[in-house]
Symmetry: C2
Subunit: 97 residues, 2 copies
């Protein structure tokens, strides 16, 4: 739990998550997006992985990262615990006839 909130506390890590919405990418491609040293990005990826917000898969020389649903669900559940108090805007539904 702590690890997840810690992970999303940093703006760079949030940007990494947003970037991965477009699909899986390897560490190098991710690092290219930022004006920051590769070791720093590597460290951020590690924290996101520990938080189970991303998953790593080694593909030969490369390591591919992608979003990990399990971590997001935990945050989502925490967030839902406040819905007693608030009603958040619901997703629009469409009924086809």
């Amino acid at each position: 739990m702590d690890a997840k909130f810690k992970a999303i506390n940093d703006p760079t890590r949030r940007e990494i998550l947003q970037f991965l919405v477009n699909g899986p990418q390897n560490a190098g491609k991710i690092a290219e997006q930022f004006e920051m040293s590769k070791p720093s990005i590597s460290h951020h990826l590690d924290l996101l992985k520990q938080a189970k917000l991303i998953q790593a898969e080694k593909k030969g020389q490369f390591i591919e990262y992608k979003l990990d649903k399990s971590g997001f669900e935990v945050i989502h559940t925490w967030f839902q615990s406040f819905s007693k108090y608030f009603e958040f805007p619901k997703p629009k539904i469409r009924i086809e006839i």
Copy 2:
């Protein structure tokens, strides 16, 4: 944005938010819940207020705190941006006939 994620990063502050789900409370009552000095709690309340996750209202000698919807909605919106990728469990709907 940063202030909100920072605010929910701390476990004490998350507990304060959970505590306030049961309704508004003054600073003293909130502090009673924790084995921590009042000034520390006061500081946590300040960060939550800056993040617009809680609102403070002075009532005579007391200061009453309650959850602030506006801050939660911002976080909710951020979270929704990942729904392209994931489907989170949807609230159940019932269609009456």
